[in-house]
């Protein structure tokens, strides 16, 4: 068993960075250890393979975009700062000033608010215990009175009287003014600041129309309930996104392509997608844009796709690509994504599905016609619009027939 040190020296040997003494050690090690020889051989092989890996050439001159970005962003060569430590004040000075300022603000706030609250409390207390201006004897009434005379009045007589000035009138029992029962005062007579949150805007409830996705098993499209569910849904709108999760995007696309063409339809495949189809080992998702499809035609197409897929069950190993179909009405986001994939805004384009002259949904379509569709490698993060196939597809677009739909069909393989 090789020690870690031996292993490390063997990897450094592969790196070609050993001293002559270390190389002699490796030679001796290799002489006596078969395991070392084997490991070295493998490491050299790995290193050789790494060397043989090629990077594709850079196809664009970066000087132009770099200079353009410099101009656009107004980038300038930044002068290196002279170092903060060489400034007039040490580094801690800024922190100390900030801490002192914070402390002063906190202390100031405390004293300010404490003073305000004290004054308010005092004013409120004075308001509630205010003595009336004429404290003379009150006429007798039925309400209870608070008399300042203490209960132990008789005992008080035995106590020495306090010295009083002759001018002072004789001591008499003064009745405290009657405190009326506490009643809320009308706001007009007394305006006291009320500490509350500012008035809030009332939250207005609105009804949102949310179209839920319709999900069915592709192989269950022969069931009438499922068919009706989809047809009903597809008659509600004019553009739909169909997600078809599949085991392998390329295999699934080939299956779709076969079914689509058997129907006499044409399919334009973008160059990138064509390249990906030739490289099945690269996992690829595909998107198919089809227009002018009646719901019944779309259903028939998917039904046939399900039938074609079912044939794969007989193969060994089974080659079933599809499972569920998820149909959603195209949202603004979907339309945006489609526009980015194609490099053109189909809605603004006018012709075809979703255009300004889009016919009303639900009407009976005219005679059947050959459909054009466009297939792209689905990479919404880095769309590559504007290929020749996209242009041809856009040129071949016609105003949509009444009651037909636009479909964005995504064949999505498993992600990691």
């Amino acid at each position: 068993m090789l020690s870690d040190r031996d292993r490390e020296i063997l990897t450094a040997y592969v790196d070609g960075e050993l001293s002559s003494r270390q190389r002699r050690y490796v030679v001796r090690l290799l002489h006596r250890s078969g395991e070392a020889r084997l490991l070295l051989e493998k490491l050299k092989e790995d290193s050789g393979q790494l060397r043989r890996l090629e990077a594709p050439p850079l196809e664009t001159d970066l000087a132009f975009p770099v200079l353009r970005t410099i101009a656009e962003r107004h980038l300038t060569i930044q002068r290196p700062s002279g170092g903060r430590s060489s400034g007039i004040y040490p580094l801690w000075f800024g922190a100390a000033v900030a801490a002192a300022a914070l402390f002063l603000i906190a202390a100031g706030s405390y004293f300010f608010f404490a003073g305000v609250l004290d004054r308010e409390d005092a004013a409120r207390l004075a308001q509630t215990r205010k003595v009336p201006p004429t404290p003379g004897p009150q006429p007798a009434d039925e309400s209870p009175r608070i008399v300042e005379k203490p209960k132990e009045e008789p005992a008080r007589e035995s106590m020495p009287e306090p010295q009083e000035s002759p001018a002072q009138p004789p001591t008499q029992v003064v009745q405290r003014p009657v405190e009326k029962p506490v009643r809320p005062e009308p706001p007009a007579t007394k305006e006291e600041p009320v500490l509350t949150a500012p008035s809030m805007e009332m939250f207005k409830l609105e009804t949102a129309n949310v179209a839920l996705p319709v999900t069915v098993k592709l192989r269950e499209l022969n069931q009438d309930a499922n068919r009706q569910k989809l047809l009903k849904e597809w008659r509600q709108d004019t553009a739909f996104r169909l997600e078809l999760p599949c085991k392998d995007g390329t295999r699934a696309f080939e299956r779709f392509q076969k079914v689509w063409k058997e129907k006499g339809n044409s399919l334009l495949i973008d160059q990138v997608a064509q390249g990906r189809l030739k490289q099945p080992r690269f996992k690829t998702n595909y998107v198919v844009v089809a227009e002018d499809l009646k719901p019944e035609e779309l259903l028939q197409l998917l039904h046939q796709l399900a039938a074609e897929d079912k044939k794969g069950e007989a193969k060994r190993p089974p080659d079933v690509q599809f499972d569920a179909l998820v149909s959603t009405r195209m949202t603004k986001r979907d339309h945006k994504e489609l526009s980015e994939l194609l490099g053109v805004d189909l809605v603004a384009g006018g012709a075809g599905q979703g255009g300004a002259n889009r016919p009303e949904a639900g009407k009976v379509a005219a005679k059947p016609t050959e459909h054009h569709a466009l297939a792209l490698a689905y990479n919404p993060v880095r769309p590559r619009p504007g290929s020749a196939e996209v242009k041809r597809f856009l040129e071949s677009r016609k105003p949509a027939r009444p009651g037909t739909v636009q479909v964005l069909l995504v064949l999505r393989g498993p992600s990691s």
Binding site: L62, V66, S415
Partner: protein
């Protein structure tokens, strides 16, 4: 530093952007190859190299000329690529693959259309790329710099800004890890 580089830098500092364009043209291919090997994605590599040049332009004044200009650019590029790779690892790619298969790239047709490229790389190269992509960005970087770029420990230490001993131990671990991954695949 070469006299040409020095002259171009002086021109840049005087405010001549075309001189910087010349520097870009001089080093873009080498930087791109290195970054591509670290990222395994043509478009990302282009983006990163472009950003590297922009950063370099802004920091040109800070380049003291103690090392080669390329080494300085290389340092910025490798660090940017490692940083990009780290961020990328946290993102679930829409078009990613599983079972260790290489990602959706190259979507770039240029890679696919190179005569013999796919064939030559298809078997063994594919496995090595896969294994390489499973290494940490730091381990991948040292292997790329050493085996693919043929850099010395000393230069690598300067580029990655770590001691030579760290380079040596990282390479040791990276080679053994790569070996283990390839053996898993065999």
């Amino acid at each position: 530093m070469s006299a040409d580089d020095q002259r171009l830098i002086v021109e840049c500092l005087k405010g001549n952007p075309n001189a910087f364009g010349a520097l870009v043209r001089r080093y873009q291919d080498r930087l791109y190859h290195t970054v591509y090997r670290l990222l395994d994605n043509a478009e990302d590599a282009q983006d990163v190299v472009q950003e590297v040049f922009l950063n370099a332009y802004q920091s040109l004044e800070a380049f003291k000329g103690d090392s080669q200009l390329f080494t300085w650019l290389y340092r910025i590029a490798v660090n940017a690529a490692i940083s990009h790779k780290r961020k990328q690892r946290q993102v679930v790619s829409l078009d990613a693959t599983r079972h260790g298969e290489r990602g959706a790239e190259p979507l770039d047709p240029s890679v696919q259309t190179q005569p013999g490229y796919a064939l030559e790389q298809a078997e063994q190269g594919q496995r090595v790329w896969q294994a390489l992509s499973r290494l940490s960005p730091e381990h991948r970087a040292v292997l790329v710099l050493k085996d693919m770029e043929g850099q010395k420990y000393e230069t690598m230490a300067e580029i990655l800004q770590v001691p030579i001993g760290t380079i040596r131990s990282r390479l040791h671990r990276a080679r053994l890890e790569l070996r283990a991954l390839l053996e898993e695949d065999e």
